[in-house]
Symmetry: none
Subunit: 228 residues, 2 copies
DNA sequence: TATTGTAGTAAACAATTGAGCACTATATGA
DNA sequence: TCATATAGTGCTCAATTGTTTACTACAATA
């Protein structure tokens, strides 16, 4: 397992496990800190984040006492190195989820250049079905602004899942760059002319075949919407 | 322990147990209230105090999410209650499928009775963001048929995520049973009249206030669509 | 030398969350 | 009819608690 814990992290993980067993609920950051003489909650938090990133801990964000161990932990007590096969079969769901197989970044803002691929703009992460991310390596999520695709069932605030690719075929919904701006549109090629077609009768198709600042970022492979 | 629980108390105890199993930590007063349409935390708290007094629940005072079951619960569980209840609470279902992660069942077909809760109809599973299933314990997915909600961005073939609850508030999108049929509609209550409103101008609102075969299955908390 | 990862402090902030009070309503029995 | 238990609303309050920013320190390493 590549996710090795530091001594400190292992200690803390151990403490959390014990605390939960004793009390039936998880400790707070401050309680953990108190037990390890860590005065700042931030110091504790970074340990927890590390444990989470390495797949040993689930953390409910912004939720009190929402720590729970993954199934990883129990196995960890004996340091036999596990093969790929056992990782795959064992209790692999949690591992897969945390190995960025199905946890993909949400790119919040879309600005100049090719910022979609920049790490700076990441707004968070969302877990999607592993079956999807497996078929679309490198995929990421975008939060939709505007209403140009409502007839295609893509609304403001929706998350769209993008599979990066520089091309598209007729009828596919794509994310494209037009100069500085990134938009979601339906891709349509007629003869030699290429159009980006909004799925909203209020907006006209955009001819792009003559534009040099046009490029395709990727194909929209999914839409996710959460109410509230 | 001979301290008998009221129906309400038993329901709530059950919910807490399920929540903890699914999330690894206990719900808040408000989360419990939300699931039982109890608006005031005080209403919830008194139920919990009763459960505690009767020996079914440990409550950490002034501590967030510090509910844990006593061993009482498991022993007295489900005396001879109906099969619906046990299916619904999903001890068999959720324990295996949910595990510590957010894999929820997809209910394929919707037919007579209350088949949404029957195991037979399960069509597969889908992984959703843990943040969602955490807030909507017992949620499941449905595959949409028909076009009555296209203006709300819900298309044929989409997966909608349902949080089971027998009530709804104005404007929410719900899955409701009308006799043998289950449909997705927007819930609207005007004075004493209740309507199920299709989000498609081709269809008229359906008045249901006088119908005895009407019931609400749950609230639509999310939509997921995958393009081939 | 510069960079990266780990480890920690201090302080401020905002959201979550349990507790409490006053009040209403309904059903059950004595 | 009166008391009691159950069930709920609407509200306020204060404590708990996770998050974030800015800064320091040390060891390993490229």
């Amino acid at each position: 397992m590549k996710n090795k814990l530091t001594d400190r992290q292992a200690e803390i993980l151990n403490f959390i496990q014990g605390y939960i067993e004793q009390n039936g609920y998880a400790p707070t950051l401050r309680e953990i800190g108190k037990n390890f003489a860590i005065a700042s909650t931030f110091g504790v938090k970074r340990h927890l984040d590390a444990l989470s990133k390495k797949g040993y801990l689930n953390i409910g964000s912004n939720i009190s006492r929402a720590l729970s161990l993954t199934n990883c932990k129990e196995q960890e007590d004996f340091p036999a190195k596990s093969s790929i096969t056992s990782v795959k079969t064992g209790n692999s769901l949690s591992e897969e989820l945390y190995n960025s197989f199905s946890q993909i970044p949400i790119v919040g803002r879309v600005a100049a250049g090719m910022p979609i691929l920049a790490i700076e703009n990441i707004d968070g992460n969302v877990v999607i079905d592993p079956a999807i991310s497996k078929n679309n390596p490198g995929c990421f999520a975008l939060k939709v602004k505007g209403d140009s695709m409502i007839n295609a069932g893509i609304f403001e605030g929706d998350l769209i899942i993008i599979s990066p690719q520089p091309y598209a075929t007729n009828g596919e919904i794509v994310v494209a760059l037009l100069g500085d701006e990134a938009t979601v549109k339906r891709f349509e090629k007629r003869d030699d002319d290429i159009y980006l077609i909004p799925e909203n009768s209020s907006y006209p198709p955009i001819p792009v075949h003559h534009r040099e600042d046009f490029s395709i970022v990727g194909k929209v492979v999914g839409v996710i919407r959460w109410y509230n």
